[in-house]
Symmetry: C2
Subunit: 754 residues, 2 copies
């Protein structure tokens, strides 16, 4: 654990610059608006250790697969997010020398991420010789105009002499990825111009041999300042504008930079991309920074109205949950169905900015409750739009139907480790489950009967072809998979995977009864095929051990040496930093919920005895070395009234990044895991379930807190749930009257003003 | 199948240049002398498709691992052979134009690999305008002086006018590998000089960051010719000498190039490497080509005396077995214990020229019988010398003892697919088995009691740590392995691996009874440790199925869909060209002998019933898509008196490369599989076994042949075995009297001259 920011309910704030943890600071102070985002690196020069990262949603590059391509069906490339052309940097000079806090003397450093309004602020007083200047910076990426980045700098001469202040603002295509493999640059400059206070650059990703898009990005930077424009400078990959001016003692100067970023994702040609940047610049660029900021902040306020979680009696928890919500909404708020939720969002390059099963398994249930239904509907749409890729992926394996990718930008699998690519097929189950979950939660039947059914049938056809019949056991089996526990690979009959396959086939058959004949005909789905689905579903092998009364993670799991984690030498944890991959694979230790993930999905369909036995068997073997593990365990522990265990599990997710719990937040935030604290509170502590069109709650108050409350979006209503030592108070904040189940008893809610 | 050479008992010969199969021709006409070798590319320019490949034994480069390195214990690099600096090329011009058979008109083309004497000869008549010139080329890499490559060219003007003949001989460091990953050049030139008819170059492999050696290679080329020296040319990476002369009608010209190649593998400094090249050039370079050739050919004649196999009634078989012996001896003849047998020898770049388990499993038993004992002793020594690397490999996995590498140049594992690197640990068993096999065959106890025991103890310690105890089964198990059947990965309790582990522990404990107390003390081996070995060995789990009466390939093998290969659509074979890797992994189809490999190793320890049941169960599931599969099956089939099946299996290995059976010989020859035809004949058809210090035979004559005979090296004797329709004739050609078992009956052999 390492905590470098102060505790505050709405702010991430520090009064010191910790140069040894600069990257950690940058990750935590990242900003994003779904469309683009950036780490919290400084605008001005910084010669110390830093990770300058700016990313554009859906803009990526396919890296050629260099190992394993000789295996038939192997992905040809690994997709990765690329660092965008730098539009943030500004060189600030005092008396001809660049401000550089890695070298300069400074005082009164303040850094503050304002989560309520979505603004990053920074100020400090810097000394250069006998000059003493105070600088304030404010920046945001606009939620009101997605293409807009705005930065305001103000300077005050606190010294006794006049100082010469000069500013150079750039757009710079000389950027590299942190990715250590290759020293490539990914941007070719198509056009650039520096014309007075306006800078433009159009760049394009370098060619690739896989037929994936070459993205074109236009940037237009406009500036307003009290300083005097001096000149422009251009080089093959940069454009710059320079200003300067003298500041007498006590004098102030202001500088505003607004950059409009448009891409080929939204416009069909270089000309139209550039025209759009021009148009947006003329619409937005001349407006006052304060006005743009107010528009942006108002949208954040509305988001908080719908989704805030208040925790009393524990300031750390309060800050933790708000930070997680803030960073999740910065990554995704459902405004573009072509985008998804990268495990690091816009905060780093690890995991390549691509879409993982994290979305459906962990982010989806959060967005279902925390945001309006259109957000999750767009997450479903994303997968539907990628069905052609999923058909392709299955075909590459020689299989029918749709195999959604483990990692992707475009629907085509782009991760190149076979044990993940070919074998972690349980993802298909989560994608079907999300459709079920959405339908159950929202009551919207329209999706599942149309686009959703296309997806379900594709997935069902995949499972029906992927199973094989074991003559010896007289049951259907699934060999050669990797379950959610990635500390085992290539196992046979992973209970979780088999359960999901069985369920998918049954559920798709059930929905097939509801859809139109036209839809069935469109998909050429007949009774014979459905009958085969039912046969497989009914005869699916689900390994279990009657002596232990548990479901068995996979065929030979119980042959392992089952020493519990608590009996391991503690200096060997985390295992992934101390044990070889071989050692881990052969061990019984579970990276993240596997059998328990299946029980979590269908939590009301297992008896308490079944849940308890499996939890008590598997949790002691679980090392929780995936940040995705804790939430599932928290919800199950709460369900089993193991309140201390539930709170312990919640604690692992609550401040995972703020306290750098896994010692890797310098690489970026664990965005998809951030949903864990919300799930632990809402599904765990408050016991939220949705069954038979009813919301239900069975809350408890963790003894570490005095009260907590949150808001839930449900079928057009906004419901408030407040839990304190005296009990639970439910309120309907907006929408139609609603019957809710509280601790097993129906409660009728009307809006308060009624 | 594609056959481009004629049938001939001692020659590989063709009278046409098949430009569409030029690479195949080059692979088949490769030359080697253990120290170095080259493909059969032309010396002169050839603008068509060609693979120019020259390789130096033990000279390699470590390619950085780019995928999977984040797994603890993963190899940091992949080692690969690199194409040597080109010392073969000679540009031949007639009237100022280069001879280039891809473009020129020519007649009377002859190409001939003389296997009896180890020479590659080529001749043709080429037309250039009205010029008509006949060219002969002869070349060899000397078995008498390993550093020597020699090439003689003769020219005859068959036209009616005088022609201007000019020759440019080069040493050229502008070489690339075929390997498609990177466009790197691997050689830096340290020094080079062109001085009249002598060319020198010293080059060094480019730096690497893994601490593996940078090899320095000096080359000195000397020339003798009837033409007139004109000038030298040098560039940063080349040196050249030019000659020319006029040939009147009917005139002849001669040109000899001799290159001496010395390396840092044999000399400690650049200066000494260069001096050695100078010295050798002064010793050998001035000698007549014919004299050098005679010395070289005499050594080949001696090899054939010891090892020839004669097959009557089938000229294809005769040529096939001689070709295999020729290419094996070109790759390895035991003269340098630091070298080993790459799967492609000096004939291509695939498999990186490294050492695989192929050596002990397939090449070792061949060399035991076909060559003097010092050859196999050196193969054992190679592994002993690499024990530090094997300790390192085990330690990287967090395990005790020695884990010999799956792929290596220096003892350190250098293959980067975890399912092979971490899991194909059965290789350790074959390395121990080779010691046992050597000791049994040669009667030499000295090795196993000294160096061999070091190796055995290292291996036993590895197994003892790699097993785990299954409380449920009450037996020791080995999880997470890949057996010889690489069409499955990461299986549990692979019967073959468990059998070898059990045997290794028992055998090492047995040898421990025989070694000196000093040796035991040196290895800190005590009774407690030996007792644990015995416990594991005695309680090792060996999966078996009592209903089927078979050993089970691994825990869940019998749950698969066990459709035999013959019932598959034939257009899906070979599977590795038609099925995805995922499909293959889940299938029951066996790439090469797995359970049967274990039965082959201990062929006399299983009942005929056991052998028959397992053969009849597994062989129908075996696709033989490794070239290493057929020999084992041939020997077992012969043992079971399945003579037709034995001959069918033999046929797959006999002319694998000559008939391009697998359609990939253009990449290089299947050197380690070439032992298969010898094993099929000697261990299979002739039933060679060695037990209780006696050679035994139980021959049959395949109905496709009229007779066959071979020679066996056994404990200082040379024994001849001749089988024809009338029976078997044994003869002792040299060495002390010997009792041999023929068809169960002792036969006393004396040398004939006695």
């Amino acid at each position: 654990m390492k905590r470098i920011f102060e505790i505050d309910p709405w702010k991430i704030v520090t009064h010191s610059l910790d140069q040894d943890n600069k990257r950690l600071q940058e990750s935590i102070t990242s900003l994003g608006n779904e469309y683009m985002g950036m780490r919290g690196m400084f605008e001005e020069k910084y010669s110390g250790d830093t990770h300058h990262g700016i990313y554009l949603g859906g803009v990526w590059y396919p890296d050629k697969t260099r190992v394993g391509w000789w295996k038939n069906g192997y992905p040809a490339y690994f997709g990765k997010v690329i660092n965008a052309v730098d539009f943030v940097s500004v060189d600030l000079q005092i008396n001809g020398e660049s401000i550089d806090l890695a070298r300069d003397r400074y005082t009164d450093f303040d850094l503050e991420l304002d989560m309520q309004r979505g603004i990053l602020r920074r100020s400090f007083t810097v000394f250069k010789g006998d000059a003493k200047v105070r600088l304030h910076s404010e920046r945001f990426v606009s939620t009101a105009c997605k293409e807009l980045y705005a930065n305001r700098l103000t300077f005050e001469n606190l010294g006794k002499k006049a100082v010469e202040l000069s500013i150079s603002s750039v757009i710079d295509a000389n950027v590299f990825n942190e990715d250590a493999n290759y020293d490539e640059q990914f941007w070719d400059v198509l056009a650039h111009q520096a014309k007075g206070q306006e800078l433009t650059m159009t760049s394009q990703t370098i060619p690739n041999s896989f037929g994936t898009p070459q993205f074109i990005v236009a940037m237009k930077a406009v500036h307003q300042t009290s300083l005097t424009f001096q000149k422009n400078e251009t080089s093959p990959k940069t454009v710059a504008a320079l200003w300067s001016g003298e500041l007498g003692p006590g004098d102030q100067a202001e500088f505003e930079k607004k950059v409009l970023v448009t891409t080929s994702r939204d416009y069909p040609s270089q000309e139209k991309i550039e025209l759009a940047a021009e148009r947006l610049a003329s619409q937005q660029g001349g407006r006052a920074f304060a006005e743009l900021l107010a528009e942006h902040a108002a949208i954040w306020e509305k988001r908080w109205e719908k989704s805030d979680v208040v925790i009393e009696g524990n300031a750390e928890s309060q800050q933790g949950i708000r930070f997680n919500l803030f960073q999740l909404f910065s990554t995704y708020y459902g405004n573009d169905a072509r985008l998804n939720i990268g495990p690091k969002g816009f905060t780093g390059e690890k995991y390549g900015g691509a879409t993982y099963w994290d979305t459906e398994a962990f982010a989806f249930p959060f967005y279902l409750g925390a945001t309006p239904a259109k957000v999750t509907r767009n997450l479903l749409q994303y997968r539907h739009d990628q069905l052609p890729g999923a058909f392709h992926n299955a075909q590459e394996q020689g299989l029918d139907g749709a195999l959604f990718p483990m990692v992707t930008f475009n629907g085509i699998e782009c991760h190149n480790e076979w044990e993940i690519t070919f074998e972690e097929i349980h993802r298909n189950g989560s994608i079907a489950y999300a459709i079920y979950n959405y339908t159950r939660y929202t009551g919207d039947q329209e999706y599942v009967h149309h686009e959703g059914f296309d997806v379900l049938v594709g997935i069902a056809r995949f499972w029906a072809d992927r199973v094989h019949y074991s003559a010896r056991k007289g049951q259907y089996m699934i060999h050669g998979v990797t379950g959610p526990n990635e500390y085992e690979n290539n196992v046979n009959n992973n209970w979780y995977t088999n359960l999901l396959a069985k369920w998918c086939l049954g559920y798709t058959d059930q929905i097939a009864q509801e859809v139109s004949d036209q839809k069935l005909a469109e998909l050429s789905l007949d009774q014979k095929e459905r009958s085969r689905w039912r046969e497989i579903s009914n005869q699916m092998y689900l390994p279990a051990d009657s002596n232990l009364g548990i479901f068995v993670q996979h065929d030979t799991f119980l042959d392992k040496d089952l020493t519990p984690v608590k009996d391991l030498p503690q200096d060997q944890l985390p295992l992934n930093q101390h044990w070889s991959w071989d050692h881990i694979l052969r061990s019984p230790y579970i990276k993240q919920a596997d059998v328990l993930q299946g029980i979590y999905y269908f939590i009301d369909q297992f008896s308490e005895e079944e849940k308890r036995r499996n939890f008590d068997f598997y949790e002691p073997l679980t090392v929780h070395e995936s940040s995705l593990s804790a939430a599932t365990h928290a919800v199950l522990a709460a369900d089993l009234h193991k309140e201390d265990k539930a709170f312990e599990m919640y604690s692992r997710t609550a401040r995972l990044d703020l306290d750098n719990y896994n010692n890797d937040t310098e690489d970026g935030l664990h965005i998809t895991s951030m949903t864990g604290s919300w799930l632990a509170i809402v599904q765990g502590f408050a016991g939220l379930r949705v069954n038979a069109d009813h919301l239900s709650f069975a809350p408890f108050l963790p003894k570490e807190w005095t009260a907590y409350s949150f808001r839930i979006n449900f079928r057009g209503r906004l419901v408030s749930v407040a839990v304190n030592t005296e009990g639970t108070k439910l309120a309907l904040l907006s929408g139609d009257d609603l019957e809710v189940i509280l601790n097993g008893t129906p409660v009728f809610l009307e809006t308060e003003g009624k």
